[in-house]
């Protein structure tokens, strides 16, 4: 099967050219064919999806204006789906069936989307490679022995393999953008507060955001328009008006000032990534954008600040898993021992490590030295961006310093794994919107070079990250779309998708 663009499918359903049921079956068939290789789905929701598609087909008039009529989507398994198992890829929640929908989920369904399954991710969205899933890693559709990135790796892989045209992810320090980059698709982390977090299984509450992963900037913009907006169920959701993000994609970037933090992106970046990044800047400049040098002097502290802040918040958020109200319980006659045995059996090593680190930095005697200090440096990182946005309208960086790395390569060294987030965490700490758009391939076995229109044998996707001002997703999406129009990277498919 070939999944058409999101709008193509939607328009076919709206016009009656195709039925939602037929499209849903195709997506389910694709999961059946590809999931044994990819492990991108924890749960396939065949019955639920077909029932929902039948509802749409039975009353087509009602869905004539629906922005996602009959569009099959995948949802990261840390977003609650009523009556559909939601595990956060953890043994702790292996049998958890939420009694309610996340707001992001109900908004997509109300817009006509059909959920075909729940996607694999790092446990409780903690990781950079998807290897922290209790259900095994997702495999990158471009190279099955490599990571799809993390933590929304299943969602990125499902879109890359063209199983679905749109998937939901969540991003705490790069978990939408980095897997999107490593799988060659588009990922959007909205401004903090833009999308409701209600029903998102909490990792780090001051950083978590829900966002779309899609095969093109336009499809991601359509998804974001549906997702965005205030929600009474999430007090941190923002009342800012929601524009039509797809309508902002004019292709015009003349005079747009794109800030490039040369010092930051100059070191520690794979040579192919660096070349593709610089070539992408030239494409935007040729369209009339103006490149300006900027400095983000405190961004070099972003990784340690992120891991101090996010683990502190995680240690508090994950205290709720105590074997009492939901999730796993390992019985013991003693209450405290029941808690400890439950949490030992339910949490994997990375989750435990982060709970330990977060508990430590919040504990008496270390709070000021680590947690408070990290919050202060977080302010300096925010201030850097504020200054940069006086000179520039967007900030450009590579999304990831390397292409997809081999599964297993960094598992034994958590610190090395954390370095994968070097370019994504600062926008998270500052609460800014950021998009990753495909900008080329590594050379692989030597055939393709940046600028070639298709990847060479063994080439791996590279992502360009554009960060915008708070609540100005429109400008960043307009630039990403303009870039996409001049290059063919987003339309490249891994061979596994051409079946």
């Amino acid at each position: 099967m070939t999944i058409a663009s999101l709008t193509g499918l939607r328009d076919a359903v709206r016009s009656g050219a195709r039925s939602a049921t037929e499209i849903c079956r195709e997506a389910l068939d694709a999961i059946h064919a590809l999931n044994p290789s990819l492990n991108a789905f924890n749960t396939v929701a065949a019955e639920r999806a077909l029932a929902h598609a039948a509802v749409i087909d039975a009353d087509r008039d009602r869905w004539r204006e629906a922005p996602l009529a009959g569009v099959p989507i995948a949802v990261k398994d840390n977003l609650c789906t009523k009556g559909l198992r939601t595990t956060a890829s953890s043994r702790m929640l292996e049998a958890y069936v939420p009694p309610y929908d996340a707001t992001a989920v109900s908004r997509l369904e109300a817009a006509g989307a059909v959920i075909v399954g729940k996607t694999n991710c790092d446990e409780f969205a903690m990781g950079s490679s998807n290897e922290n899933s209790a259900f095994g890693p997702v495999h990158n559709p471009w190279a099955l022995d490599r990571t799809p990135g993390g933590t929304s790796g299943g969602s990125a892989a499902a879109v890359a393999a063209r199983i679905v045209p749109l998937a939901l992810g969540s991003d705490t320090g790069g978990s939408i953008r980095q897997p999107a980059a490593l799988c060659g698709v588009v990922g959007v982390k909205p401004t903090y507060g833009r999308v409701s977090r209600y029903g998102l299984i909490a990792h780090a509450s001051s950083l978590d955001q829900v966002g779309p992963i899609a095969a093109s900037v336009r499809d991601a913009a359509l998804g974001l328009t549906v997702l965005a907006g205030a929600d009474p169920a999430d007090a941190t959701s923002a009342p800012e008006p929601v524009p039509d993000f797809a309508a902002a994609l004019t292709g015009d970037v003349r005079g747009l000032r794109i800030g490039v933090p040369r010092a930051l992106v100059g070191a520690g970046v794979d040579a192919d990534v660096s070349r593709a990044f610089l070539a992408a800047l030239e494409v935007l400049a040729a369209r009339g954008a103006v490149l300006v040098d900027i400095d983000l002097p405190h961004a070099r502290y972003a990784i340690p600040v992120y891991y101090l802040v996010s683990t502190a918040e995680a240690s508090s958020n994950l205290a709720r898993y105590d074997g009492v109200r939901y999730g796993l319980r390992v019985n013991d006659a003693n209450l405290r021992a029941m808690y400890a045995r439950t949490r030992d059996a339910g949490f994997g090593p990375e989750v435990k490590r982060r709970i330990m680190l977060g508990t430590y930095v919040l504990s008496a005697g270390y709070y000021d030295a680590y947690y408070l200090k990290a919050q202060q440096v977080r302010t300096l990182i925010l201030d850097d961006y504020d200054r940069a946005f006086e000179r520039a309208d967007l900030v450009a960086m590579p999304t990831s310093p390397t292409g997809a790395f081999p599964l297993g390569e960094r598992v034994a060294d958590p610190l090395q794994m954390y370095l994968a987030d070097v370019f994504t965490v600062s926008a998270s700490l500052a609460g800014l919107p950021a998009v990753s758009v495909p900008c080329g391939f590594t050379r692989g076995h030597g055939a393709a070079k940046p600028g070639d229109s298709c990847p060479g044998e063994g080439g791996l996707p590279i992502g360009l990250q554009l960060t915008g001002r708070r609540f100005d997703e429109s400008t960043m999406l307009r630039a990403a779309d303009a870039y996409e129009r001049d290059t063919g990277w987003s339309s490249q498919r891994p061979p596994i998708a051409n079946r």
């Binding site: 507060g193 001051s206 090593p349």
Partner: protein
């Protein structure tokens, strides 16, 4: 706490104390591994502690404005049956409503 008071490495005792605070039981091999890995991460985080933050306010949230109050009105919420449906050991035998059961705490 002053910088020179920070432990250069974490002892097994330190790790066990943190684990107790976090209600985590660790396997024997995890204790040594976490001692080493947490020390590595904290050493890496050490550069943050060298940044001059005199007079810098901490950022706990990037929300542009404080959350607004909402009207204090009763809204529909989950039923007791829905709430108990995922409980590992629910007690829904009583008419007046169900309970989450836990191991005996007193006596």
């Amino acid at each position: 706490m002053l910088a020179f008071d920070m432990p250069a490495e974490l002892s097994r005792d330190d790790v066990l104390k943190i684990a107790a605070l976090a209600n985590l039981r660790l396997e024997a091999d995890e204790i040594d591994r976490f001692a080493r890995q947490l020390a590595d991460i904290l050493a890496y985080a050490d550069e943050v502690r060298q940044v001059d933050t005199t007079g810098v306010a901490p950022t706990a949230s990037v929300m542009a404005r404080p959350a607004a109050d909402r009207a204090d009105e009763v809204q529909p919420s989950l039923t007791i049956a829905d709430t108990l449906a995922n409980a590992p050991d629910p007690d829904d035998s009583r008419e007046e409503g169900g309970f989450f059961k836990v191991p005996r705490v007193i006596g």
